[in-house]
């Protein structure tokens, strides 16, 4: 099992291979998501009227653990 987060300065809804993961944060803290090892298309739908600079990234998620999840960062621009 692999672990990752989708940080961005604001709030956003994360997606893995087109499937919603829910909001990237809960109570201001990043949610840690789980996935199977390998390549995944991670995308973000920025909330609060913002849009992502890069909407989709192909990331090879491997060798993670629940204490140090991989960060797949996004930038939300107005």
């Amino acid at each position: 099992m692999e672990f990752f987060t989708v940080p961005c300065p604001g709030r956003g809804e994360g997606f893995i291979d087109g499937i919603s993961l829910g909001e990237n944060k809960s109570n201001g803290e990043l949610n840690v998501f789980q996935c199977n090892p390998g390549n995944h298309y991670i995308s973000m739908n920025c909330l609060a009227g913002k849009s992502c600079k890069v909407s989709k990234q192909l990331i090879n998620i491997i060798d993670t653990n629940p204490i140090s999840p991989m960060e797949v960062p996004f930038e939300c621009a107005s």
Binding site: M1, I16, D17, L21, C35, G38, H40, L58, P66
Partner: protein, 491 residues
């Protein structure tokens, strides 16, 4: 002379009738455009899981009537089993069953329950368990009318068997029946067969049929059950049409998986999915689901461990919709005891064929159980590690503890004859044949044995007590006379 004329007229009429395509397997209808909000999919027929309830997933193995009766025994016990929710309200565990994944004989039980949940416990035993299905199928083969039909290349013994299941058990229902009923009124049914063109699991869900550009709603449930229980050699493979119009894109994970380095299970699954869109692949030929997975556990395993499954449970975990996952696998595997090794004479061809058929299947089943148990153990270990780390961090107040992302408890229970403590009963059930007919007493013994195994399973009791600390298993007593009748009187 008049009789001869009538016979000739009949033959001409039948031939003309058949030229119009009457003796042909029922074709699965084409699908013009994929719509993920329609069709027989988990997300369409079930509500989002409620984290306050356990998410119960059942898998029913193959093994003819033996497997169907053993699975029925589990369902009866789940119906009787009540627990108290934290607010004190009583609830039946049967109502928490979200998904049933099944193979071969187990598919008769799961499909009947999904189609007729209201009458399942009263009608299914007479409709299937106590019925001599094997005898009825043999009678159909002996009917001269069917010889004529079987002479046609697009109609085979499996289509004939399916007609019987359709008429006598499943009341001509199609998957549309399962789609159009009230959401959440029955668990999501996953009937598994094997696509022998690619030696891969083939499930009767709309997500699978999207790959074939076909509409599962127009397929009879009995065809799925027949494919799932399509025992090799006894029956020929069942044919499904692969439609070649472009009905829509493939799921995104397939493209991502194809970019993985090397060849792994995920990429093999992606290649299998891609094969349905390959030019020149016009048909899929299906045999018993037991060839690829005789427990019905591979689909659930993929759903729990990957985001790739169309009914991914991991995706529900990411949405924090699952606090407790309970998987109960009904494994009706037999173990034949032989005394071949007492003599120099090698076993005969029938016995060797039995080993060739069952040996690899049993090995895969063993691995499936172990993989599932290991995964659940691994997740608990990871969770314990995060908690242990946070305990150590208590000595460093300046460091913020990590939130444990593993918030789901996993329980895995396997019901199998190998786990029966009484050696006589264990051996007796392990020696049962695989057929579509068993004496009534044998069916009854299998039912009560499933109940006893569930109530004495340590993992199940532990899982139930996590749900309701006051819950206690009931004592299930197996009638000694019933055991004597089925297994012979003990000397």
């Amino acid at each position: 002379m008049r009789i001869l004329k009538r016979a000739i007229t009949m033959i001409i009429l039948l031939t003309a009738f058949c030229a119009a395509g009457c003796f042909h397997y029922p074709e699965n209808p084409p699908l013009t455009a994929i719509n993920t909000n329609e069709g027989y999919r988990y997300s369409v027929v079930r509500d989002d899981p409620d984290g306050d309830k356990p998410f119960v997933l059942l898998s029913f193995s193959g093994g003819g009537t033996r497997a169907a009766a053993f699975a029925f025994g589990l369902m009866e016990e789940l119906r009787n089993l009540e627990y108290s929710k934290p607010d004190g309200v009583k609830r039946k565990l049967l109502d928490d069953v979200e998904i049933i994944s099944s193979v071969s004989g187990g598919s008769f039980t799961s499909a009947y329950y999904a189609l007729f949940p209201g009458e399942f416990f009263t009608k299914f035993p007479d409709r299937f368990l106590y019925r001599n299905v094997e005898g009825a199928l043999l009678l159909r083969v002996c009917n001269p009318y069917n010889w004529f039909r079987l002479a046609y290349p697009d109609f085979s013994r499996i289509d004939m068997a399916e007609e019987y299941y359709n008429e006598t058990i499943f009341e001509r229902k199609t998957f549309a029946e399962l789609v159009n009923r009230q959401r959440g009124s029955a668990p999501f049914l996953v009937l598994n067969a094997t696509d022998i063109g690619i030696t891969h699991r083939f499930e009767f869900t709309q997500d699978q049929f999207d790959l074939l550009c076909s509409d599962l709603s127009g397929v009879r449930v009995s065809r799925a059950v027949a494919a799932s229980s399509n025992f090799p050699v006894a029956f020929p493979p069942m044919t499904m049409n692969i439609n070649k119009q472009n009905c829509g894109p493939l799921p995104v994970w397939i493209d991502a998986a194809m970019k993985d380095q090397g060849l792994n299970r995920r990429k093999t699954d992606a290649l299998a999915a891609l094969s349905y869109r390959a030019e020149g692949r016009l048909y899929a030929h299906l045999l018993d689901g037991g060839i690829s997975d005789n427990l019905g556990l591979r689909g659930p395993f993929q759903a729990v461990t990957t985001n790739d499954s169309a009914w991914s449970i991991l995706n529900q975990i990411n949405r924090k919709r699952l606090k407790q996952l309970m998987v109960i696998a009904v494994n009706a595997k037999t173990t034949k005891h032989s005394d071949w090794d007492k003599t120099s004479k090698p076993p005969g061809i029938t016995k060797v064929l039995g080993v060739v058929m069952n040996g690899p299947m049993d090995d895969v089943s063993f691995d499936s159980v172990e993989m599932t148990e290991n995964h659940f153990g691994y997740m608990k270990q990871l969770s314990d590690t995060v908690n242990a780390c946070n305990n150590l961090l208590k000595e460093c107040p300046a460091v913020k503890p990590r939130t444990n992302p593993i918030t789901t408890d996993f329980t895995f229970t396997e019901l199998s004859f190998d786990r029966i403590p009484d050696p006589r009963l264990r051996r007796c059930l392990q020696e049962l044949p695989t057929s579509f007919y068993l004496p009534r007493e044998t069916v009854d013994l299998l039912r009560v044995t499933a109940a006893q195994l569930l109530m004495t399973s340590d993992s199940f009791v532990k899982g139930m007590q996590e749900l309701d600390p006051a819950w206690r298993p009931r004592t299930v007593v197996i009638d000694g006379k019933l055991v004597d009748t089925v297994c012979g009187v003990q000397r």
